[in-house]
């Protein structure tokens, strides 16, 4: 169990979550310069899900995520320099700028890929779990997706198959209530996402409030069940996106959600919560080293060249 009273546990979580928050704040700062010429889907407000789950993963475990993938990538131990360079569209990125923010993927970090077509990476994650079992490998697969993805047929087909074959996979639904500006209640008669997973005989647990410790511990239990051969497990983590669906801005002016709802979630910020649990010296140390890492990554991205045209033609076929 992750123990809120154990300073080392808290510091480890804070180090990851602070990095993610700061990276995205930097993206917001940089965005007006047009150096990141690409849509960005920020995770600000949702970081505790990726950090809580990934803090339980081993380096060999595999993650699939979505276009809102910065948090999952960094939580899985992704390479900060390569990520910044990729966002800048430079050769230093893991795909030389051919992927960009919506398609973070880095086999070295155990995050295979992210798709900008909602729900499409879910069956791939199931396929990964199938392969791991066929190959007898000790690897757990985790797939992150929004509650909007659970609308899609392929999601249901994937859960059914994963359960049928008792595959070693953890489904993590980041329920932030909205798919772009459409509330979940306008898309489902009842947002009973856990019950739906149960209907496929997949044990599911709902975690309220974005509580990072609860997410950590629930993920730990789920992974233990998977490792004990009990088949797929499911977590529905309630969370909230603070910024607009896409782009660096706030979106209060669009008026599709009540300000009070957003304010409540901001008040429960898990980054601030963890920060408040650490003494100033520990916190400062984490923050200053993180900020220098980010500054170095930005500089490296600036200095990395744009790709030459020939790079466009590589890896269309392997």
């Amino acid at each position: 169990m992750v123990n809120p009273d154990n300073v080392a546990d808290v510091a480890a979580l804070y180090e990851r979550i602070y990095l993610i928050r700061r990276v995205e704040e930097e993206i917001i700062r940089i965005y007006p310069t047009d150096k990141v010429k690409s849509p960005v889907h920020l995770s600000i407000g949702q970081e505790s899900v990726s950090v809580g789950v990934c803090s339980n993963l081993r380096s060999q475990d595999i993650v699939y995520a979505t276009y809102r993938g910065h948090a999952a990538y960094l939580a899985k131990g992704g390479n900060l320099n390569k990520m910044f360079a990729e966002l800048y569209g430079k050769v230093g990125g893991f795909a030389s700028g051919k992927a960009g923010s919506m398609h973070l993927g880095d086999i070295d970090a155990g995050m295979i890929g992210t798709s900008a077509i909602v729900s499409t990476s879910i069956p791939l994650a199931v396929g990964n779990a199938l392969a791991m079992r066929m190959q007898g490998r000790d690897v757990v697969t985790v797939v992150f997706f929004g509650e909007g993805a659970t609308d899609e047929g392929v999601y249901h087909e994937s859960l059914n198959f994963a359960s049928l074959k008792k595959l070693p996979i953890l489904f993590v639904c980041e329920n932030n209530f909205y798919a772009i500006y459409s509330h979940v209640r306008d898309r489902m008669p009842d947002a009973n996402i856990c019950e739906r997973a149960n209907a496929y005989r997949i044990p599911a647990k709902k975690i309220e409030g974005g509580d990072i410790f609860a997410i950590c511990n629930a993920a730990r239990d789920s992974l233990a069940a998977i490792n004990a051969g009990e088949g797929p497990q499911f977590l529905e983590c309630m969370t909230y996106r603070w910024r607009d669906h896409v782009g660096p801005g706030e979106d209060r002016h669009i008026e599709y959600r009540p300000d009070s709802e957003l304010d409540r979630w901001i008040k429960d910020d898990q980054v601030a919560r963890l920060a408040g649990m650490l003494d100033a010296a520990t916190r400062d140390k984490i923050e200053s080293s993180t900020n220098s890492r980010i500054a170095a990554a930005e500089t490296a991205a600036e200095e990395s060249p744009f790709p030459d045209p020939e790079i466009m033609y590589t890896n269309v076929y392997q």
Partner: protein
């Protein structure tokens, strides 16, 4: 300003056509992800839900496959659905319903049922749309008997084609382009139809025929201006409708100029450009020699970074140079002026 020279945007033209048809015909309804949100599909469905109620303009779950089938079923039962997709890429999730059901129900019932449905797909470009938000899939649909495909470029054609598509008794894939949305043009206020299967000669010329598809029509017109500076007189054609295709108009132009350059807003292999050249060749059977070349996307997925995106797409300059070469010139002997594609330069996304 008189009504006849009223200028509106491509987005407004689509909106106006839809609004007018919804007023005229209670069986028309609009649905799809985000059609009733604050952004109203870049203005093209803005406030339809307020004017016609949430029964006739509604958001859906993320369920493209089923929602396509639901539209087909409703169309068979007498409605005229318009299913809107923010990106044409999402039509890949609708493919089975469109190809196996919509395209064939009329045939398999020997005309007892019809599927009067419009499927709108917006092609993305620029600001790092990347591999999955930039695809133009018209050739996929052109391949299938029973589906119509239109790709209007001007606000006038956007309005007229939309009205014709809504009134048509077949499934119509209505291909739009994000870079055309702010295009302004003269559009009559009253409803009118642009009949399918009629290409438009946008600008006459004697030396070479340049046929553009969708947004590439805009680049072809820019290329025409560049070519004027070196004394080349290009004829620019917009096919407007791809299935049915007005091969006669294209053929007449090619017979006049002897040169055909097709600029597609997609890949070339097995694409619309290949089909058009094959049809011209078949019609001519060698009766008149003609040169043909094609430009389109590079044969790769679309890269996200701007430096590669610039190479990925044809531009006014690359079109002009290719035409110049087809006129028998050495490309090294001409450096065309830089022309800015404002709609691309000014687009800061995100989508």
């Amino acid at each position: 300003m008189s009504i006849s020279d009223r200028s509106i945007s491509y987005a407004t033209a689509l909106y106006e056509a839809t609004h007018q048809e919804m007023s005229r015909d209670p069986s028309v309804f609009v649905y799809g992800l985000g059609v009733d949100d604050a952004k109203g599909m870049y203005g093209s469905t803005m406030a339809l839900h307020r004017d016609f109620g949430p029964e006739r303009c509604f958001d859906t779950p993320l369920a493209e496959d089923a929602m396509t089938g639901v539209g087909i079923g409703a169309a068979i039962a007498g409605m005229r659905p318009i299913h809107v997709h923010q990106r044409m890429d999402f039509l890949l999730l609708c493919m089975n319903q469109l190809v196996n059901m919509a395209a064939k129900m009329g045939y398999m019932t020997d005309g007892a049922v019809k599927v009067p449905m419009v499927i709108r797909g917006i092609i993305g470009r620029s600001w790092g749309q990347g591999a999955q938000h930039s695809q133009a899939l018209h050739s996929f649909f052109m391949h299938v008997p029973g589906i119509r495909v239109v790709a209007p470029t001007t606000p006038y054609d956007a309005k007229g084609c939309m009205i014709a598509a809504i009134r048509d008794n077949n499934p119509v894939v209505f291909m739009e382009h994000r870079m055309l949305y702010n295009n302004q043009g003269i559009v009559p206020e009253e409803p009118f139809e642009v009949p399918f299967g009629q290409a438009r000669i946008l600008s006459e010329g004697d030396d070479i025929t340049i046929l553009g598809i969708s947004h590439m029509v805009v680049e072809a017109l820019r290329a025409k201006h560049l070519l004027e500076k070196v004394g080349i007189d290009a004829e620019v054609i917009d096919p407007v409708s791809l299935a049915p295709l007005d091969i006669d108009t294209i053929l007449r132009s090619v017979e006049k100029t002897g040169r055909l350059l097709i600029v597609d807003t997609s890949w070339l292999h097995c694409g619309a450009s290949a089909e058009i050249i094959a049809q011209i060749y078949e019609r001519q059977q060698g009766s008149r020699h003609f040169l043909a070349r094609r430009l389109g996307y590079q044969e790769t997925p679309c890269p996200t970074t701007r430096s590669l995106e610039n190479v990925y797409y044809p531009s006014a300059k690359s079109i002009a140079l290719r035409a110049y070469e087809m006129m028998g010139n050495d490309v090294a002997s001409w450096v065309p002026d830089e022309v800015e594609a404002v709609e691309i330069a000014e687009f800061k996304g995100p989508f």
